[in-house]
């Protein structure tokens, strides 16, 4: 069964249509790449999945649980957003690390705040926090940042900051990890280290959605690919097939630019 089912998502900003009838499924352990030119709606789609934007139409289902259904609104839908969001992790183009916290604190902050809601938090406070710290350290080590845990974001390079942001998103163990152009704000020499980390996650079968302009990377890493243009999915399927032998004229035109 698909871990994520997105059906007929539509979104308008005022009278501008940004997404129209977007549907796709994502299998557990698969990586989905979304490509397309700027303004094609890729980022808005990711923002809808993380409920940073509310879709006007369609539904979002994770592991059989309908998180959002525009046609069949559930009472209190907005209020439950917080827990629904936790199904998704989000890595932003501009990192958005919290500047006043160290790398490790960035990774552990949300988990510590969530732990406070556990009923047995007061008795086990120390043990819970130790576990969270250990988990955070393990994640940063996995990102190759063992030596940088106590650094503040401004003391880190862009590539290091983005890797901290990935660890931060992973800390809450999301079902689906979303990347919004994770390397677009980086110098070419720093792009590689971030792509390597994402490649590593793919090889561990992390379920991911990656909005990217790195065609070669998308072709290598993704199990599925979606090409979007003007708010609609023009073509989707196997990445090699879509990138090497696109069926649609618009896909072909887009790919010649790369």
């Amino acid at each position: 069964m698909a871990v994520l089912e997105v059906k007929n998502i539509g979104k308008h900003f005022g009278s501008t249509r940004v997404l129209d009838d977007v549907s796709f499924d994502l299998e557990e352990g698969n990586a989905l790449a979304i490509i397309g030119s700027s303004g094609s709606g890729k980022t808005t789609l990711l923002r809808c999945l993380n409920f940073l934007e509310m879709p006007d139409h369609g539904s979002i289902t994770v592991r059989g649980e309908t998180l959002f259904d525009a046609d069949n609104p559930v009472k209190g839908q907005e209020r439950d957003l917080r827990t629904k969001r936790l199904h998704f992790g989000m890595v932003f183009q501009a990192f958005h690390l919290f500047p006043q916290y160290t790398a490790l604190e960035n990774v552990t902050l949300a988990e510590k705040l969530l732990a406070k809601e556990q009923p047995d938090f007061k008795q086990k406070r120390k043990q819970i926090f130790e576990e969270i710290e250990a988990h955070g350290k393990a994640l940063l080590e996995q990102m190759g940042l063992a030596e940088r845990m106590d650094h503040y974001p401004h003391q880190l390079s862009g590539g290091q900051q983005q890797r901290v942001a990935i660890a931060r998103a992973l800390a809450l163990k999301p079902d689906i990890l979303c990347f919004d152009e994770p390397t677009s704000a980086l110098d070419p020499e720093l792009t590689g280290e971030v792509l390597k980390v994402i490649r590593g996650l793919a090889s561990q079968r992390t379920t991911m959605i990656i909005v990217t302009h790195e065609m070669a990377f998308a072709r290598d890493v993704a199990d599925q690919i979606i090409f979007m243009d003007d708010g609609v999915i023009v073509e989707q399927g196997d990445p090699r097939q879509v990138i090497d032998h696109p069926r649609e004229e618009r896909t072909r035109q887009f790919l010649t630019k790369y």
Binding site: N50, F51, L52, R82, T83, R85, L86, F88, G89, M90, F92, A94, H96, L97, F98, P99, Q100, L109, A110, L113, L114, Y152, P153, H154, R168, A169, L172
Partner: protein, 218 residues
Amino acid sequence: MFFSVTQALLDGLLTSFQIFIFTLLFSLPLGLILAFGEISRWKILRGLIQTLVWIIRGTPLMLQLIIIFYGPGLWLGHNIWSGSEAGRITATVVAFSINYACYFSVIFRGGIEGVPVGQREAGEVLGMTKSQIFFKVTLLQMVKRVVPPMSNEIITLVKDTSLARIIAAYELTFAGYSFMKSNGLTWPLFYTGVFYLLFVGILTLLFNYIERRLDYFR
């Protein structure tokens, strides 16, 4: 003479200091409330606060002080401020608090809006509540942004306390001035200046300390 001047100036300083401290105590939270009102989605509230800020920033503080001190007595037929020194200080604090809250609100609004939207969104996708995002993520970044403009306003407040003299509150400048008036002495005026310099000097050190403490992040 030097001793009695010092004594009188210290008396004046106490009044100035009371005006300063109580004004800060009321205007800081009031300013924050006004700042939230200014960015509220409710248009009427926003309009009301913008009008208030325009009126308060657009007229002299001295005029506001005169209206607040003498106005109620003339409108209601009895003075709501007792004629004592305490009454004069209270009226001054009320006028100053409203005035400074308006200036602070604009600084706070700048601080709130200066924190990138991405910070809030990063908190949201990590499942934080609105109040967790405010207290754990944006507040300190806001504070860091507002410290330099706030230090300006607060230093101005020290010297604005001298306006209380217009309603005959015996504050620091009034104390120094009275020696010129009665004894023809000018040196107490310079001595008064030294009091202000020391007051502001201590505040400057304090603000430098706060800025240094917040220097560890950008």
